[in-house]
């Protein structure tokens, strides 16, 4: 029943991308509309999927397609969605569509820098990226998962390397080498599982709950797969590709990177590593939890001393993903639920934050906080308000989406699975809680620097990073030479406040952040049955 739906979700962007290759000249004048329509159709399909999904059976994969693919190797083209992947599929389709709205809405104004340079290649890249991302969340075959997982890397590489900022070369090379290296290790782990069990079918493997694999094999496989996923997540200390990639990537690249690509790593834990290798997970979980809380505190401290807005948001992802990993490490339904919730919430919130950071950079031509100079609530009140909203959502205020995931992850750590040492996880919980305070600290300090204060002529980017936090605001020397960078944008007008295409792209995110924050049951009722099944609690 409805098995065509996942196939169509992949086929629409894929065919769209291929058409761009086949008929370049016919489509060139209508590129903006073309991208909008294709991603819009994909989103419509995802919405249809959400609508006809059988919520009573959220624990089992639905809309399944299971065809032989490479018969000689026993590979199958096996797709399906359950309560864990459905939100992520919808999130992916939504974020991609919003990226297209941001780029393509209106005429000759929106997303200028990007759509001017090689627009056809950009639309092509984004569509291929969407195929890979959606495919990763749909795949129910280990190698198929791996294929989609890798497909994503190439378009993202080009997105950074072609449309990125000043240091795009080094950043993109680091991104692809680092993640490819992680993927190779993950592939070894997947092959180990295959060699031991003789099947690549995720459904069958998850139902077996590790039967047929010795404990040592499970540990080895979990570590191998975990390293690959952890690079993508990213987990401390494998995170250093992330700040560079985020800082250099164009706005849509950052949004998709933070909003979807990082989720592929954590999704792998929920879909593959934990259900297929339960003994391995139990053995490695304390280490995973330790690295997760280190990531939380480390990411928060790193943010506190950042001066670049985009880089700060990138590091904040390290902290937030720490909460996600902590939730997985508890191996409890509560913790895994929290991790999955935090996953989606982070996609929405950090996606919005990167949109906003991109808008700031568009207007001021820098994301360096001392150069921005403060007073954004006075000069650009709507943008400043949205930045405040997104920051507050990101620091985990109850009533907004960011809170529930973190809270449930901590609650999971309060009472971890029976096989895990409880005192250790209590320590993790306390450290994680303090990390949440630090998270609030760096976001509020950022808001204080950027949105508060009198708008002034931005000072020259001087070597003062944290002065404003403690002492009196440093006086701006009157002899700052040259016009302030914020006076004119590149079309020669003063920087306007939020524009139509931006508003259109951001409003859905704001609404969803509020919706999931006020009614967390929407998402939790979807993931809970699936989580109970994958942990083997209710099967």
């Amino acid at each position: 029943m409805m098995g065509w739906l996942p196939v169509a979700l992949l086929a629409v962007p894929l065919v769209g991308a291929l058409l761009l290759l086949l008929a370049p000249h016919a489509l060139r004048p209508r590129l903006r509309a073309y991208g909008l329509v294709l991603s819009g159709v994909t989103l419509a399909l995802a919405v249809l999927m959400v609508a006809v999904f059988d919520y009573a059976g959220a624990a089992r994969p639905q809309f399944e397609v299971d065809q032989p693919w490479i018969a000689g190797l026993g590979l199958r083209f096996h797709l399906g969605v359950d309560g864990i992947s459905l939100p992520l599929v919808a999130l992916t389709a939504l974020l991609t569509f919003l990226c297209f709205v941001y780029l393509c809405w209106g005429r000759e104004r929106a997303g200028e820098q990007l759509m001017r340079a090689r627009p056809r290649a950009l639309v092509f890249t984004l569509l291929v990226l969407e195929v890979g991302m959606i495919g990763t969340f749909l795949a129910l075959d280990l190698l198929l998962f791996f294929v989609f997982f890798e497909v994503v890397l190439i378009p993202m590489y080009f997105l950074i390397a072609i449309w990125g900022g000043e240091g795009r070369g080094a950043a993109s090379a680091k991104f692809i080498l680092y993640t490819l290296l992680g993927s190779v290790v993950m592939l070894l782990g997947l092959l180990l599982v295959w060699a031991q069990t003789g099947t690549l079918d995720i459904e069958a493997l998850a139902a077996a709950h590790g039967a047929g694999m010795a404990r040592s094999v499970q540990i080895l496989a979990f570590v191998a797969i975990g390293v690959g996923l952890a690079v993508k997540t990213p987990m401390w200390p494998l995170h250093t590709w992330l700040p560079d990639a985020h800082t250099e990537a164009p706005t849509v690249g950052s949004v998709l990177l933070a909003g979807v690509l990082l989720k592929m790593g954590t999704y792998g834990f929920a879909r593959i590593a934990i259900p297929i290798l339960p003994d391995g997970a139990a053995a490695v979980a304390p280490w995973l939890g330790a690295l997760a809380v280190v990531g939380i505190v480390y990411g928060a401290l790193a943010c506190l001393a950042q001066r670049d807005l985009k880089r700060m948001i990138a590091y904040s992802s390290v902290g937030h993903m720490g909460f996600v990993l902590l939730g997985f490490a508890t191996l409890t339904p509560v913790g895994v639920n929290g991790a999955l919730f935090a996953n989606v919430a982070h996609g929405l919130i950090t996606g919005l934050l990167f949109f906003l950071a991109g808008a700031v950079k568009d207007r001021y031509h820098t994301a360096d906080m001392p150069s921005l100079g403060g007073g954004m609530l006075a000069t650009l009140p709507r943008l400043g308000s949205l930045l405040t909203f997104a920051s507050i959502a990101s620091l985990g205020l109850p009533g907004l989406a960011g809170f529930w995931g973190e809270m449930l992850a901590l609650f999971g750590a309060f009472q971890p699975a029976n096989v895990l040492p409880r005192p250790l996880f209590l320590t993790y919980m306390v450290i994680g809680g303090l990390g949440a305070v630090l998270t609030a600290a760096y976001f509020l300090v950022m808001l204080s620097r950027v949105t508060h204060g009198r708008p002034q002529r931005p000072a020259r980017p001087a070597a003062r990073v944290l002065q404003e936090v403690g002492g009196p605001p440093p006086a701006v020397p009157d002899d700052v030479a040259g016009p302030p960078p914020a006076v004119l944008d590149d079309v020669g007008r003063p920087p306007g406040d939020v524009r139509t295409h931006e508003l259109l792209a951001w409003t859905p995110l704001v609404v969803l952040i509020l919706l999931f924050g006020l009614w967390p049951g929407l998402l939790l009722s979807l993931t809970t049955p699936a989580v109970l099944t994958l942990l083997g609690v209710a099967s």
Binding site: P237, T240, A302, V336, L397, L410, V437, G453, G521
Partner: protein, 637 residues
């Protein structure tokens, strides 16, 4: 009737959204960002209606809910009728969250306090921030604040309560930082949020402990399971909850945010100090009082914290020059009274004082707002002789100060008396360890005297003595400081006059159970403190009576250097650590990554020597290889 708690919470919540979105959406067509323009004034008017009407409706609902039980809680007649319902359950995979909103006798009383003070503040703000271009967002945040506090009051589930609890932290941040042009205000707002959030982490963990032990987050279930919980669980849970209480109710050691929070507009101070935020901490202890009663070590800690807090804050209040900071420290001190009453085992007297304090402190702040509005400065050294110019305010503020000092017949006299009776009784009944009970009682009596002193000092220095020349109007950051030379507009005076009534008479609403001895002692002590200040003031009306503190004056004025201590012990180390992390990340973690890249390139460079395109070298290598294989084959065969 069962939906009233939900409606009371939802109305201001929706008003907050409407207030944020509607005036601006309609505003857009006119010339934007034109303070004081016609469009701005119209937007402000619209926002005022959007803010006041829902709050008024909520107040009606809250009064309705409280009508049945009345003051039963304060009279100690525990009725347990609950009005409300559960709106579904959120599965979490573990302990579920139930969306319950309900009103009982305790929340009935608090709900009335919250909505009425919020209504007074909303009406007062219309006049206070008349020309402020950001009035729409300001009033919307007050609505959100009210809604969050009502959520805390009516929540039947601890996690639902926590949601309201934290949103209040956000609202305090937004409102304290209302005049964010000034970096100082911005810093004060950040401080308020962070200090309370630090406590809230403990609070959340306390909820975890209770919820896990009871298998439910519902307040009723938790309280029902208290007798079955182990003492260790209860002590852990209540101690952790106490962290949150200390943060929100500004108790030692997390009190430092409250005096700084004076950076916000004065009506906000009234709201935070009387009805929302700081009241939440006392409320939650009263809400979970059976759990606290069963955890005696926690009560001892609470008693010591309260004892230190009440006296220290009162002394600090005696030395401040800023009128609002005097009131802020007085709030810390009065809240410590309530905490002391709770520690002494009397939740009714603590809540009684919470209610009377809510009335008279809101009154004092709103009056202080009028005074500041008039004088154009917060500093008492720039005030004086204002009783002739501001007769209404003078009368109202006199009532407020009398209630604060605990002079009959003002409301504060009755509530403070019942607290002192409870603390007196704690020595006899042995709810606390003797040392803690003695310390608490001694500090409470000493604080009565100091309270009399600082209240008298503020009263004298504001309204008596020589009239100072009007200070120059402060141009920035606020636009509210306008010197007019008359009494304030009616929208500001009406709430003041209305609040003066409960501040004076609320004490008679509850059945009096006065202990004549205790009452006489406290009145005499308060008058002694007042008399000492009066004597010093008579000697030289122009000089500050705070000089009676002698060498202690500077430490008191600096609030015993706690802020500096925290800056040195916490803030600066964290900043150093942050910079350390950044440099570590760059040099060590990323250095390893870059290093591996470089070494790979280095290795490839070494290998490249073999691939230099020299055919002779290739052939020699080939021959050498063949030779080696042949030799190997011969030798090992």
């Amino acid at each position: 009737m069962t939906t009233f708690p939900l409606l009371a919470v939802l109305l201001p919540f929706l008003a907050a959204f409407a207030g944020l979105l509607l005036p601006r959406l309609l505003h857009r067509r006119g010339p934007a960002a034109e303070p004081g323009g016609v469009a701005g004034a119209r937007a402000n008017t619209r926002a005022a209606w959007i803010a006041v009407l829902p709050t008024a409706a909520s107040a009606v609902l809250a009064v309705w809910l409280a009508w049945g039980p009345g003051f039963a809680f304060l009279n100690g007649e525990g009725t347990s009728s609950l009005t409300g319902r559960t709106y579904g359950t959120i599965v979490t995979g573990g302990v579920p969250i139930s969306l319950t909103l309900q009103a009982d006798d305790l929340s009935g009383v608090l709900g009335v306090l919250v909505t009425l003070v919020a209504l007074a503040v909303q009406i007062y703000s219309i006049g206070y921030l008349r020309d402020d271009p950001r009035y729409p967002s300001y009033s919307a945040f007050i609505s959100l604040f009210t809604s969050a506090m009502l959520l805390v009051v009516y929540a039947g589930d601890l996690l639902v309560l926590y949601v309201g609890w934290e949103i209040m932290g956000l609202c305090s941040y937004l409102l304290i930082g209302h005049w964010w042009e000034d970096r100082g205000n911005s810093r004060a707002a950040v401080k308020a949020f962070l200090v309370t959030r630090l406590g809230d982490v403990g609070f959340l963990f306390g909820i975890f402990v209770l919820g896990m032990a009871a298998g439910s987050f519902r307040v009723a279930d938790v309280l029902a399971k208290v007798p079955e919980m182990s003492p260790a669980t209860l002590v852990t849970a209540t101690m952790l909850l106490l962290a949150g209480v200390a943060g929100k109710s500004a108790q030692v050691p997390l009190h430092t945010w409250l005096p700084d929070a004076m950076a916000g507009p004065t009506p906000i101070s009234a709201l935070i100090h009387a009805a929302t935020m700081v009241a939440a901490g006392i409320f939650i202890v009263a809400r979970l009082f059976p759990a606290f009663l069963a955890a005696r070590p926690t009560l001892d800690v609470l008693a010591v914290v309260a004892a230190l807090g009440m006296l220290g804050a009162a002394l600090a209040a005696l030395a401040q020059d800023d009128l609002k900071r005097v009131l802020a420290y007085s709030t810390v001190s009065q809240l410590a009274y309530m905490a002391g009453g709770l520690a002494a085992g009397s939740d009714t007297s603590a809540v009684f004082h919470l209610v009377t304090h809510g009335a008279f402190k809101a009154l004092l702040f709103l009056c202080a707002g009028v005074v500041i509005h008039h004088a154009g400065s917060n500093l008492m050294s720039q005030m004086g002789g204002l009783r002739r110019e501001l007769p209404v305010t003078f009368a109202a503020m006199t009532i407020g100060f009398a209630a604060l000092m605990g002079l009959p017949p003002a409301s504060g006299f009755f509530s403070k008396d019942s607290l002192l009776v409870a603390m007196d009784g704690a020595l006899a009944t042995g709810g606390l360890t003797d040392a803690a009970a003695l310390l608490l009682h001694a500090c409470a009596l000493a604080t009565v005297a100091v309270t009399g002193a600082y209240a008298t000092r503020a009263w004298l220095r504001t309204f008596f003595g020589e009239a100072k020349p009007a200070a120059l109007p402060e141009p920035a950051p606020g636009t509210a400081h306008v010197v007019t030379g008359r009494e304030a507009p009616r929208s500001m005076l009406v709430p003041v006059a209305l609040l003066a009534v409960p501040a004076l008479l609320l004490g008679f609403a509850v059945e009096p159970h006065l202990a004549p001895g205790v009452a006489a002692t406290s009145v005499v002590l308060a008058l002694l403190g007042a008399g000492a200040v009066y004597a010093f003031w008579r000697i030289d009306p122009a000089a500050d009576p705070a000089r009676l503190l002698g060498p202690f004056r500077v430490p008191c004025e600096r609030a015993f250097y706690v802020d500096g201590l925290y800056a040195a012990l916490l803030v600066r180390p964290v900043m150093v650590l942050a910079r350390l992390v950044v440099s570590t990340d760059d040099h060590v973690v990323d250095g390893a990554v870059r290093g591996s890249g470089r070494s790979a390139r280095g290795l490839s460079g070494a290998l490249r020597f073999a691939q230099n395109g020299n055919v002779q070298l290739y052939v020699s290598g080939l021959l050498a290889g063949v030779l080696l294989i042949v030799v190997g084959a011969v030798v090992f065969a």
